[in-house]
């Protein structure tokens, strides 16, 4: 079964038990303030992240391996910055030059991307999906005209569909390979051959889910999720505020 990297991993660490609404807020706080941070605070934060992943018993290394596509992309971001940032030249060959500034900013940008992503993964890995959607619903409630319960159900369903889509996509790809579909040269046909069977399959799935929901009396007016603060919320809030302060000032 294709496991998505941001799947919830049950546990009892302090982060697992923290109120999801606060966690949600802290994620936004930390990832936004990080944008203006310099290298040393980022390095310190990365150590903190590793600590929390360990406490939550999530294997960072395995997580990174499952995201290798993303790491490749980070490589591209780094290279793009290297080539496009002007400054004193570090290496120059074939008319292309790499500046010292390009290498350092490129590295910092890629590093921050990685940290933002890992922060997101730490959140989704330690928060029950029901609580993620509960937190979203809670934050949306004050906004008028917004059907926050429907949004919550859509979030939950879309999380349910993701592994199904990945699995079906793999099946379609395998079937194509078995029938030499890879030899198709026409790019339009190639996309249609990959996507159409996938869509047919998952819409069938969706129809079955609709029936299953109806048969269990689905309505939008449902019992609300409940939050149980663990008592450690103030210390986490204080810690994150200090972190954000360090990010912005240093």
């Amino acid at each position: 079964m294709a496991l998505i990297p941001f799947a919830f991993r049950p546990g009892k660490s302090a982060l697992h038990l923290l109120d999801a609404r606060l966690k949600f807020f802290l994620i936004c706080l930390v990832s936004t303030s990080m944008l203006s941070a310099s290298f040393v605070p980022c390095l310190i934060y990365s150590l903190l992240l590793i600590l929390f992943f360990n406490l939550a018993r999530i294997k960072v290394f395995q997580l990174l391996i499952s995201m290798k596509f993303f790491l490749l992309l980070l490589g591209f971001i780094f290279l793009a910055r290297c080539f496009s940032t002007p400054g004193d030249t570090l290496i120059s060959a074939y008319g292309i030059s790499i500046s010292r500034l390009g290498v350092t900013t490129g590295f910092l940008v890629a590093f921050k991307f990685l940290l933002v992503m890992m922060t997101g993964l730490l959140f989704s890995g330690t928060t029950r999906p029901a609580q993620v959607k509960g937190a979203v619903q809670w934050f949306l409630r004050p906004i008028p005209f917004l059907p926050e319960k429907r949004v919550a159900v859509m979030i939950s369903l879309s999380l349910a569909f993701m592994p199904i889509i990945l699995k079906q996509n793999q099946k379609v790809a395998d079937a194509q390979a078995a029938r030499c579909g890879n030899l198709e040269k026409n790019p339009v046909k190639k996309i249609i051959r990959m996507v159409l069977p996938l869509l047919k399959k998952i819409f069938l799935c969706a129809d079955n889910i609709i029936l299953a929901m109806e048969s269990r009396c689905y309505t939008e007016d449902r019992t609300d999720p409940e939050f149980q603060p663990s008592g450690k919320e103030p210390s986490f809030l204080l810690g994150s505020l200090i972190l954000a302060f360090v990010f912005i000032v240093l």
Binding site: P5, F6, F24, I27, C28, S31, T32, M34, L35, M67, F69, F70, L73, F113, V116, M117, T119, G120, L121, F123, S124, V132, A135, V136, R150, V151, V153, M154, I155, S156, L157, S158, L159, A160, F161, M162, I164, I165, L166, N169, P187, V188, K190, I191, I192, M194, V195, L196, L199, K200, I202, F203, A206, I209, I210, M213, E214, Y218, T219, E220
Partner: protein, 176 residues
């Protein structure tokens, strides 16, 4: 709208939220560069779900990205990404989906109409995304266009034609 139809649209919209999210990870190798299908699913959501549910779908997608799930392009997430250099493309999905859906509906959900609708929709994404890129990174317009639009046009054309045919075969199955 009766409750049963509302449930159907809720589930189908959720399905497209998932497709758009996963679209950041599904790549089809065409020539030397893999084509990422995320924006094609955005356009398909527009022409299959219609304006209202299309907007809902993109709104929820942006929300789960904001909530920290790595569903934005390249597996990123968060408010920083949404307001970063490429955030304009993400926010541009909102008007793009609405206009694409409206045009497709207005032109009778036909193949040619869908293609026109999706071309307009793609242009709207760039119309929001490129100036945003320019402002956030303080590039010139020429540079913003060269990095943020021109390289993607051929792929977009391919995806639009494919999406139009896909919509044509899917519509009778899902009865939308």
């Amino acid at each position: 709208m009766n409750t049963s139809n509302q449930l159907k649209m809720t589930v189908y919209s959720a399905l497209f939220v998932a497709l758009i999210s996963i679209g950041a990870f599904i790549a089809i190798p065409i020539g030397p560069v893999p084509i990422v299908l995320q924006n094609m699913f955005v356009l398909l959501a527009a022409i299959l779900l219609g304006p209202v549910w299309g907007i809902t779908c993109i709104g929820v997608y942006l929300l789960i990205g904001l909530a920290g799930l790595p569903v934005f392009a390249g597996g990123t997430s968060g408010i920083g990404k949404l307001f970063g250099p490429t955030g304009g493309y993400l926010l541009g999905y909102l008007p793009a989906v609405f206009v694409t859906a409206a045009i497709s509906k207005g032109l009778g959900k036909k193949l040619s109409g869908d293609i026109i609708a999706m071309i307009v929709g793609s242009l709207i994404v760039y119309a929001v995304g490129v100036p945003w890129l320019k402002v956030v990174t303080s590039m010139t317009y020429t540079k913003a266009l060269t990095v943020g639009m021109y390289p993607f046009i051929p792929g977009d054309g391919i995806k639009i034609i494919a999406a139009a045919y896909i919509a044509k075969s899917i519509r009778p199955i899902i009865k939308l």
